[in-house]
Subunit: 344 residues, 2 copies
């Protein structure tokens, strides 16, 4: 990529992102939550979901699509379930509050679910899964999104890239941490390859007629994880996430949701749905025992021989924790455009 | 395939499978549950997990690896969580009882989890997810299994094919139903291709050195879903299933578990772990509302245009329900060897 980049210390970036969202009208609590989630992604190396999104959110806060001063409504319906109306505020505020509520209920009930409707983009799902893991819970965070992934065997997009994130605490170590879209690549990758005029990897995208293509300029939608042969698996997973995030909460289904980007409509609410679950190992064999087993599991994973000499086998999240260490020390690299917009 | 096959009426097969398991010593309740799960798979077209497995189970019941007369122990630890010790009996008995308990707790708590250790192979995970859906619950069933799937980027198998099954009730229709391994293909497919001396599909299996191969005779282990490029996604999912099924319940981790097949050891307990969860839509927006949304979702899916003219786009489970209809009418096709063993 020929694009110019700028390296910014994490603390400076964090302060600026918060201020930038506040300037766009976001309430202190929602700007703080969004900043925390964006910094999670920027520090862990998930730049697509990092600080650059603040610019998008500010546009939507100003346009009215995101409510700058949401009033979250929580309705606890049972010992383990709470419903949240996110009042169209920044999804990160809803996300942290919802996972917090799920953890609170899991303390007694053993598991807690907070089902969220009337939300907006919540950034990287992993932020909320890790929030649960930091409280010694197994956290699971799901969200639906606007459709840009083909249904398996169909010529039209039907599901979003619907992320699944999970995290689990580990004795004497950082959490196991897994955050994935249910497509092989994000659509941003297609945009990047267009700008580079470079062939896409095989079996990840399709044309408007549903034909698999490697030409990024012809790529109209993504294929579900598993590609042309096994995409029914990725599509089934995406469907499960739609069911848990949207059908259960009353949010808009993926195919009916207005797009997050590439639209002039900055005003209409999108009614995104999320699903947050915390599972409390204390109500199973005990949190210390669970964390010990997790340590054993990861130790046994880490000694698996690699197919590439010199390249160690990593557990989910391990690379991200390494990037976080490096970026806390060395700063976060921003593209010139994001830097100029945020720091102008 | 040149193998001879025999078509058997479903009711006849069901009676014979039950009797066959009883003859191998299985208690009535456990033989009944195993028969129900095997017939689920045989009817839905999942022949790898159907009636043929009765022969394997009988061998293990006689060898002592499966306890023919298990005494299930259930310990409810909170409003939403129960732990089960399956006493090394047929995993199907544990499976139905555990999902039943999860549903019972979900009635009040909104979600129920039953965590099972000291179990054995439970057949097709989908049987238990559907059991929950038949009670108007969203059902999720997971299990770990002995390692035959490479860790992404490693030369050794580390996770099992670890299935994920989910089902959800639909207004005026059969449940949405998704049952998948976290590898692209099951290892049985490799065995089949060996017997046919036919090249495997690309990107699904690896040699003992971890090199991707299409030669079924060189294939030593499977690749996780996503293959060589995106297998970290399948491996992460498999890991999540190991964590929920085994680390949480105290079952044996995949890499330490003795193999299900290809072993002379018919005596040693395997301590397989399962995770069953029922989510009660009644504690969200109401079961009728949820089922109505599911109907809308599937209606919108069903009108998606197909990439192959004349081949309709199907929702997860739709093909399986069609096969079930056909097999209830026309009978179930068994390979000659299974037929001879069961009906001799």
């Amino acid at each position: 990529m020929t694009e110019h980049t700028v390296c910014v210390p994490a603390s400076l970036l964090e302060g600026r992102v918060f201020q930038y969202l506040c300037e766009a009208g976001a309430s202190t609590v929602s700007a703080r939550a969004a900043t925390q989630a964006l910094m999670h992604a920027s520090l862990m190396g998930v730049d697509s979901h990092g600080a650059r999104l603040a610019v998008h959110y500010a546009t939507m806060l100003r346009g009215g699509r995101i409510n700058p001063t949401p009033n979250l409504t929580l309705t606890q319906t049972s010992s383990a379930v709470t419903l949240m109306n996110a009042d169209n505020g920044l999804g990160h505020y809803a996300g942290y509050q919802a996972m917090e509520k799920a953890c609170e209920q899991a303390l007694q009930a053993g598991v807690g679910i907070c089902s969220v409707a009337h939300s907006t983009h919540f950034g990287a799902a992993g932020a909320y899964a890790l929030h649960a893991a930091s409280q010694n819970m197994i956290g699971i965070a799901l969200s639906n999104s606007d459709a840009n992934v083909a249904l398996h065997g169909s010529t039209v997009p039907f599901h979003g890239t619907n992320p699944l994130a999970a995290a689990a605490p580990v004795q004497d170590g950082l959490p196991w941490f897994f955050d994935t879209a249910t497509s092989s690549i994000p659509f941003n990758r297609v945009r990047l390859y267009r700008s580079l005029d470079k062939l896409l990897p095989p079996d990840v995208a399709a044309t408007q007629n549903g034909q698999v293509t490697r030409n990024p300029h012809d790529a109209f939608m993504l294929l579900p994880l598993g590609g042309e042969s096994y995409g029914f698996k990725g599509a089934g997973l995406a469907g499960l996430i739609t069911i848990l995030s949207a059908a259960l909460s009353g949010a808009t289904l993926d195919a009916d949701m207005i797009p997050m980007t590439d639209t002039e409509d900055h005003k209409t609410y999108r009614n995104v749905g999320h699903f947050f679950m915390a599972i409390n190992p204390e109500k199973f064999l005990g949190a210390s025992h669970f964390k010990h087993i997790m340590k054993t599991y990861l130790a046994s994973l880490s000694v698996c021989p690699s197919t590439t000499p010199g390249v160690p086998v990593l557990y989910p999240g391990e690379r991200e924790w390494q990037i976080r260490d490096a970026r806390l020390n060395q700063g976060i690299i921003l593209d010139q455009q994001t830097y100029s917009t945020l720091f102008s």
